[in-house]
């Protein structure tokens, strides 16, 4: 509680938005007035009491799709970030511990992954394996594994050089023990700060891919593809398609505010 009292207003705003989004996403079927893919009326109905945000290009309720979209888009972004982090951190620590050619091989592979802009790499890979939700999650996890690998390798390098690792080795501890019990606890704070930032990138990335029609596929509700599906409305001066886009922006801004505050606290800067 004392932590919250020292938080700047931007961070409190961020926490509120994040909590609201998570709650809505979690209880989507209870909150939403209609089903995710249920067709409830004519196409592009204007805002009304029955359909607070109108209907979309196929006559589905916009508000319900926004609510289910929160679940799908945020859920998938969390899943992807989770995979990228667990695999990337494990490999990074492993490379730092083993050193030698294992480290060289993995580091050079990561260099190649990071030398290409993520969006272009994702498009190239998805062209090969075909767009679908599991493929998209896999491809994005592989791409974002690279920066996590670099960070955890660099952080673990400092730890590996310390005496207690040598002592543990002499005790005859195995690789898994060294990684989990000796290295991980010492680099976890660095990783946690990075996770928030990476989640933002992954979230925006999924939204962009879905907007381009290569990420989350219809009829699954998702904020990125909802913008695309209803974009024609903009030319009639209707702001409805901006709502899912705005939701994406609002959530990312909020998380950035929280991360900014945590980094500030972690670095101990006062001004």
């Amino acid at each position: 509680m004392t932590l919250l009292r020292t938080a700047p207003p931007t961070a409190i705003f961020g926490l509120l938005v994040l909590a609201a989004t998570l709650l809505i996403g979690l209880f989507a079927p209870l909150v939403a007035p209609y089903g995710e893919t249920e067709i409830v009326g004519a196409e592009y109905l204007p805002w009304s009491a029955e359909h607070p945000l109108g209907t979309d290009n196929l006559g589905r309720d916009m508000l319900s799709r926004m609510i289910f979209g929160a679940r799908n888009t945020v859920g998938l972004a969390l899943l992807t970030t989770g995979i990228a982090f667990s695999v990337g951190a494990a490999l990074g620590m492993f490379a730092a511990l083993k050193g030698g050619w294992v480290d060289q091989l993995m580091s050079r592979a990561v260099d190649v992954l990071m030398a290409v802009p993520p969006l272009i790499l994702a498009l190239m890979l998805l062209a090969i394996i075909g767009p679908s939700i599991p493929n998209m999650v896999g491809v994005i996890a592989v791409i974002y594994l690279a920066p996590v690998f670099r960070l955890s390798r660099a952080a673990a390098m400092n730890v590996v050089a310390l005496d207690f690792i040598g002592a543990a080795r002499l005790r005859g501890e195995g690789t898994v023990w060294l990684l989990r019990r000796e290295i991980l606890p010492n680099i976890s704070s660095t990783l946690v700060a990075e996770a928030g930032l990476r989640f933002c990138f992954v979230f925006l990335f999924i939204a962009a891919l879905s907007f381009l029609g290569i990420g989350i596929q219809p009829p699954t509700a998702d904020w990125g593809s909802m913008v695309k599906e209803n974009a024609t409305l903009i030319t009639f001066g209707d702001v409805t398609p901006l709502i899912p886009a705005g939701a994406i922006a609002l959530l990312t801004v909020s998380i950035n505010f929280i991360v900014d505050w945590m980094l500030h606290r972690a670095s101990g800067l006062k001004s």
Partner: protein, 318 residues
């Protein structure tokens, strides 16, 4: 050969090696695919003859390393193969679209870079004032927004409500430079807004970092005015990180261009790439992807070299 030349040559060589690794990546990916590419694209219902014809066309009946060498020797001679969808030469498809994309990226860069650097300098100069704080929050928000949100917002305001600019950037139908600049103003502005924030924040951070150095305190104690401290003492020493940030953002423009081109139906490489991915037109995906990756790598290498050149300690060595 001097130390400097060696350094630059090694960076260039590294860039070329990376480019080869990336170009091979797609071939490796096709190889790792479970089952057969032809089967996957054409579906279960395809007959044996169509499958065989498709394999022959993509060269899937040859071993992967031969296929790669074959493709590579074509690329070196400017032959990127034929598009599967339109049957036209990929090189021919690329040429006009390449010019369009370059035009858009250059348009945005020419405006964004000077504004971002000046804003960053001012934010560092007036640190912790209202100007700095609002610039910071504005930048943080702009970084977090998806490009398509910014783009549609601009369309709504400037072309629907005010009617100043067209909603679609039809560059083919204009013949004067002024017309082209007008038609592509909104996509350019979207890109500018997206990259400016990041460049400004990094410029500010780089300058503030240098301002903590003892020689800056010395200059202040001597009574040098604040703007002079920033311009003459801090800026030259912050040049390397600033150059790096500019290059990174120019590279980012190349990526941002993909989404923005789709929003504005702009006939550029990004639009081409997205269409090719959706229809799984491999020769086109490969060529466009390679071009984007190449530009990105080149800009990063250029940033490396320029920051070496801007630092006398690295330039002359010890």
């Amino acid at each position: 050969m001097t130390r400097l030349q060696k350094l630059i040559l090694s960076r260039l060589a590294l860039g070329v090696v990376t480019l080869f690794a990336v170009s091979a990546l797609m071939f490796v990916g096709i190889e790792l695919l479970p089952g057969d590419l032809a089967q996957q694209i054409l579906g279960q219902s395809a007959t044996a003859e169509t499958l065989a014809a498709f394999r022959a066309e993509l060269g899937l009946d040859q071993p992967p390393h031969l296929r790669y060498l074959d493709w590579l020797s074509g690329v070196v001679q400017g032959d990127f193969g034929q598009s599967l969808a339109s049957r036209r030469d990929v090189a021919e498809l690329l040429s006009t679209r390449l010019a369009n994309t370059m035009f858009l990226a250059a348009y945005a860069a020419v405006i964004a870079v000077p504004i971002a650097v000046v804003l960053g300098l001012l934010a560092a100069l007036w640190r912790n004032t209202l100007f700095d704080r609002s610039a910071n929050i504005g930048a943080l928000s702009a970084i977090s927004m998806p490009e398509f949100f910014v783009a549609y917002l601009l369309i709504l305001v400037f072309s629907i409500k005010l009617g100043w600019f067209p909603t679609l950037a039809r560059i083919d139908s204009v013949d004067t430079l002024g017309g082209a600049l007008h038609a592509t103003f909104l996509p350019a502005l979207t890109l500018i807004l997206v990259v400016i924030a990041h460049m400004m924040r990094m410029t500010r951070a780089a300058i503030i970092n240098v301002l903590a150095a003892p020689y800056i305190e010395m200059a202040r104690l001597k009574g040098v005015p604040r703007w002079r401290v920033v311009l003459r003492h801090a800026l030259p020493n912050a040049l390397a990180p600033i150059i790096n940030v500019i290059a990174l953002n120019l590279a980012y423009l190349i990526v941002g261009v993909v989404v923005v081109e789709v929003v504005f139906s702009y006939p550029g490489l990004g639009q081409l790439l997205v269409d090719a991915v959706a229809s799984r037109d491999f020769p086109v995906v490969q060529a466009v992807g390679l071009f984007f990756a190449g530009t990105y790598i080149l800009l990063n290498v250029a940033a490396d070299i320029l920051s070496i050149l801007s630092n006398p300690r690295l330039r002359h060595g010890r």
